[in-house]
């Protein structure tokens, strides 16, 4: 029991995930497979986004159907900063975080006045608004999007130019993101979020306003999603409104549901599973989502308990 809970501590989980990704990256590096190094970078970036959504859905009970919006805003932060000649990671990443967090806080301030299905719909609506705003930015590619000026630099060095450099950054951010969100979940703040997820009225009757906690959770998750977007923009070296497409939001929810929303690491598992399915089936047919659909249906039929529970077991959700 004690050993189990130590393994479940945020630090241990973040470390395990980081080491797992690093091992995969080492293999890809030795094999000199730029394809796998790029895929790992993308996988880690998507996992970071899924972890932040898992924090909202699983811990705070806020099912956002607009998670692609802060991801896209992070990507556009890289594009737009690049157009102004700013490519330094130490500036671009905080910028992406701040812009996405601000968007999430502003839209969340309104969305949090609703609950349940209405919250899902209103977050979707705000994401669609962000999508159309991006599509109208003709100076930055409009509908078609545009290539970023170049990958970000780290303290002036162009270490992200090579795929393993970018993958290292993505894996590092994923590890830090998992650790920080895990610590937040375990903190008093996280307890209030989880208590309010179970019974909001009860939390209020015990003297705590839940609105501020939830708004802060939305902003934090949005900011982390923005980091994910900044990584994806660097990986693809291209940014377009499609980052904010509603089915990207849907796919993020699929990742969280597939991996299991009960724990943040479910987001990583879901993102890895979806990306691998994409790569594996996508080579053979453009209808790879049919395969993904079957997997999701299968997971749901297994009492919706997520892949993690299938693998390691557990007594409660």
């Amino acid at each position: 029991m004690a050993r189990m809970s130590r393994l479940r501590s945020p630090g241990a989980i973040a470390l395990l995930v980081t080491l797992g990704f690093l091992a995969a990256l080492a293999v890809a590096y030795v094999q000199d497979s730029t394809y796998w190094m790029a895929t790992l970078a993308r996988m880690a970036a998507l996992a970071l986004s899924a972890v932040s959504l898992s924090f909202l859905v699983g811990q705070a009970g806020l099912v956002s159907f607009g998670h692609a919006a802060p991801v896209g805003i992070g990507a556009y932060a890289v594009l737009i900063a690049g157009e102004f000649g700013v490519r330094e990671v130490m500036i671009v990443l905080p910028l992406a975080f701040a812009a996405a967090a601000l968007f999430s806080a502003l839209t969340g301030a309104i969305a949090l006045r609703t609950r349940g299905v209405y919250f899902i719909m209103i977050t979707l609506a705000f994401a669609q608004m962000a999508f159309y705003v991006a599509a109208s930015l003709s100076a930055f590619g409009g509908d078609d999007g545009m290539a970023i000026a170049g990958r970000s630099t780290f303290l002036g060095e162009r270490i992200l130019r090579r795929d393993h450099g970018l993958a290292l950054l993505a894996i590092g951010l994923l590890g830090v993101g998992l650790f920080v969100l895990g610590r937040v979940t375990a903190s008093k703040f996280g307890l209030v979020l989880r208590a309010a997820r179970d019974n909001e009225t009860r939390v209020r009757a015990l003297g705590l306003a839940t609105y501020g906690h939830r708004l802060a959770a939305l902003a934090l998750a949005g900011g982390v999603a923005g980091l994910s977007g900044a990584l994806l923009a660097n990986q693809a070296e291209f940014v377009s409104p499609s980052y904010m497409n509603w089915h990207v939001s849907g796919q993020a929810i699929v990742m969280v549901a597939l991996g299991g929303a009960g724990h943040l690491v479910g987001g990583v598992i879901g993102a890895v599973a979806v990306t691998l399915l994409d790569e594996a089936i996508g080579h053979y047919t453009e209808y790879w989502k049919l395969g993904l659909g079957l997997v999701v249906v299968g997971a749901a039929l297994l009492r919706g308990r997520g892949l993690l529970r299938r693998i390691v077991g557990g007594q409660h959700d």
Partner: protein, 235 residues
């Protein structure tokens, strides 16, 4: 004389078109234990829900420490010094015992409740601190709900159906704990059906009938006039 901890003045409330409370007035003073008695459906739970702002008061005033908090949101009313132990416990099912206690705690005020003191009051909770809510027995859940309310460091503990559905042994534990809280000077407003235990614990009694307060008085007055019990309480 300072203002009472809570005072309801002519409070009316209801659900939709159905009015349940008709001008309910009573007060609880610091350090006092008051019961809310009456048969089922007379408006006791509704009174408590209205007190906590979970149901809007359609008329009348709700004063807490002299401040008018009529219409205030529940979290403001609770943080003004009221600790709620709701009917049916309603603990947070996906939190452990300890997390349930800590999540809504507001440390360092009022009577200075800490985890250690709650565990001293209810040793069973310490044994089960890592268990999840639904793994607890009904009695343990009730202890947890009381502990959770104490951790908000209230001036007044409010219990709705303090021992409903619990085994006799566990009931005795709960009444002992409430007596200990009373001895520490904590004010308590309690709803329950166990008349003997209520008479032993409380200073004053408020009897409700059909949404109105029909009688108030001390424990001595109740004991002096057994007809009160048959008139207002027996089914």
């Amino acid at each position: 004389m300072s203002a009472p901890l809570i005072a309801l003045e002519g409070v009316e409330a209801g659900y939709g078109p159905a009015q349940v409370l008709f001008g309910v007035s009573f007060a609880v003073n610091a350090g006092e234990v008051v019961t809310l008695m009456g048969r089922n459906g007379m408006g006791k739970s509704t009174t408590l829900r209205t007190l906590f702002g979970l149901l809007p008061a359609r008329a009348g005033r709700i004063l807490i420490n002299g401040a008018d908090l009529t219409g205030a949101p529940p979290h403001r009313i609770a943080s003004a010094g009221l600790g709620y132990v709701p009917e049916g416990r309603q603990i947070f099912p996906r939190l452990t015992v300890e997390e349930n206690l800590v999540a809504t705690a507001s440390p360092g005020r009022g009577h200075g409740w800490t985890l250690a003191r709650v565990y001293a009051l209810f040793p069973r909770l310490e044994e089960r601190r890592r268990n999840m809510g639904p793994e607890l027995s009904g009695g343990e859940q009730q202890m947890l709900a009381i502990g959770r309310a104490l951790m908000t460091n209230p001036d007044l503990l409010v219990l709705d159906e303090a021992t409903e559905g619990l085994a006799p042994v566990i009931r005795a534990d709960i009444w002992t704990a409430l007596a200990a809280l009373r001895a520490e000077g904590l004010a308590i407003l309690v709803v329950d059906k166990n008349l003997e235990a209520l008479l032993r614990l409380a200073d004053r009694h408020v009897v409700m009938e059909a949404g109105r307060v029909t009688w108030t008085g001390s424990t001595a007055e109740v004991q002096a006039d057994p007809s009160l019990i048959t008139r207002y309480l027996e089914v």
